[in-house]
Symmetry: C2
Subunit: 359 residues, 2 copies
């Protein structure tokens, strides 16, 4: 296993070697930000970014044309491997399905659905190809609703950014009844509460956060998502590419130090399970982390005063060192558009066909 912690004799630093990590809900403020976002990602240990179809302007990728445009922008700018999701809307059932072959997944942004939610989301479930994942940010009643629709259509569904106790227990109950549901929790939700930021109602309360930690067995993936961006926008009135990426691993390693998590827990949720759930092609990517070295340049992070430790010293991608001591060595956009090939989509718990090695 790559998940080992060694004591570096020469420096007395603890190091960890992980496979290249996967950001399953990467957010860019605009599609001009792929270079900045992927460089920040790479330096933070994330060698694969699955980009959300939303920018600060709302849902932007909604059909094959807009998806192709975004892939074009990313292909000339990405320093990590990547894919892009397409956003479901009340009116694009056919267009979304037409674009499925080029998309990483269908993303259902629940706030975009105002009326006839049930029938239009049901239509997406009926049209979107079975071999391709579906991911949604549904909460509360919407979550229950989308779980029913997934079940009625015999489809897998991934719930992203689970923040509340109620939602995690519903997912747990659904899993116990063998519904094909997986979920992720944003790293920020494990370390920030509404009590810390009363102006941010989308953050978990302390009680919710305790439930997320206690229910970690049912959390299949960790994510970054839009939460760090929304926090920074509210707190700093500033948005930038790659927010929440640099502090993610150091925050989780701090929990490892506190005995709340193992490194295996991190690898499973930021690599192994994302690969299975989103059928991400195998990457030849390795990340070496110095667990004791402290981070700098976290100006927009709410954790900038926490003296976070866990510095990514080396990242290799496609057999070459892409990042060393925080500096990007790749001199061009070496990121590849890598999406799941057509084929039957398996759930995490079911038997998952091994993803082919593409490079």
């Amino acid at each position: 296993s790559l998940d080992v912690t060694n004591n570096d004799a020469q420096t007395s630093h603890s190091t960890a070697v992980l496979p290249g990590l996967i950001n399953i809900s990467s957010f860019v403020p605009s599609f001009d930000d792929f270079e900045a976002a992927t460089k920040t990602s790479l330096a933070a240990g994330f060698t694969y970014n699955a980009f959300l179809p939303q920018t600060v302007n709302g849902s932007t990728i909604t059909d094959l044309d807009s998806l192709a445009d975004a892939i074009g922008s990313a292909s000339s700018a990405a320093y990590s491997d990547y894919s892009l999701y397409i956003a479901a809307s009340e009116t694009n059932v056919e267009e979304a399905a037409e674009a499925a072959d080029s998309a990483g997944a269908l993303f259902i942004p629940f706030n975009d659905f105002v009326k006839s939610k049930v029938s239009s989301i049901s239509a997406h479930f009926a049209s979107w190809p079975e071999s391709k994942p579906i991911i949604t940010d549904a909460k509360a009643t919407d979550l229950a609703s989308v779980l029913l629709l997934a079940s009625l259509h015999n489809r897998s569904i991934h719930i992203t950014n689970v923040s509340f106790k109620e939602d995690l227990s519903l997912i747990k109950m659904a899993k116990e009844k063998k519904l094909q549901v997986t979920c992720d929790v944003s790293v920020y939700s494990l370390f920030l509460t509404r009590e810390d930021f009363p102006k941010l109602p989308f953050l978990p309360t302390k009680e919710d956060q305790d439930a997320l930690w206690e229910g970690l067995a049912d959390v299949d993936c960790f994510s970054i998502g839009v939460l760090p961006t929304v926090v920074s926008k509210t707190v700093n009135n500033k948005v930038a590419p790659g927010l929440g990426v640099s502090d993610a691993l150091p925050l989780l390693f701090s929990a490892v130090k506190d005995g709340k998590l193992t490194i295996e827990d991190i690898t499973k949720r930021f690599h192994d399970n994302p690969v299975k759930i989103f059928r991400i092609p195998k990457q030849d990517a390795v990340v070496e982390i110095d667990l004791d070295r402290s981070l700098k340049n976290l100006d927009l992070s709410p954790f900038k005063n926490n003296k976070l430790r866990g510095f990514v010293e080396r990242v290799s991608l496609h057999g070459e060192t892409a990042c060393l001591d925080g500096a990007i060595l790749s001199t061009s956009a070496v990121g590849k558009h890598e999406i799941a090939p057509r084929g039957r989509f398996g759930s995490v718990t079911g038997s998952v066909p091994q993803s082919p090695v593409l490079n």
Copy 2:
């Protein structure tokens, strides 16, 4: 079968003989209205009323105390047999379950649930005894949500007052996937549209109404419910006990004349299926209807100018003629509190134990 239409030789009138009909969602403006409501019901062919736990003051029956009070009021005033539902709320999970033995069913009024809908309704599903029915007025996303919860808890659920195409197709899909769901449509929804009453958004559109007629195979019961009361309140600014009861059968018989329905369709949905779904004890009750005789005294009905025909000439209950030519013959409140005994609750489609003859 009792469902026969004869030509009455002496008068040349067509008559139908039906079993005493069952109103599964009877509404009284207040609990002082049991006498008026049950007399109107009896005269209209309904020998059993399952009363909703709401009055014009909102949810009134919410625990054993309020249920016992309402049963007390009804017992001294009811001219039909009856039961009362208890209303679920965000705070009465335990109280409701405690009162289950004396209640006809648990009614989940979705508008009463504001926050933590999913977890509190889930708690009701977990606490309410399996032998007792659950009924709800959920629509749209709430409907999908409650169907999921029923499924996760392996419970039957009855959806009342289905009004929209989207909701009926969701129920149809759920039935196809063997979820234990049944539903009813209010008679008014089959004959009034939003186009007729633009101020009443809870009425089906013409398109919805067409879907209700076309999807009648998935409509297990007919109901009356609160719809006639809400229509009268908006149109006439008046509320009275028994609204919508007198015009229900004549409206349906007009559809029989138009070839859109059979008498068997009516008996199934206003007697046979209600008995099974709500496990209503067997009644010795018979209704004789003159299909050609016209109705009077429909002042508050939106159908008062339709010259409705189908006059209930005789109703017998408990072996005696209780109503003749519209006049109540019973000289006291002969209605009995009749609820399903404890035992396993079966779905309509499953094997239903024969209800015992209690009188």
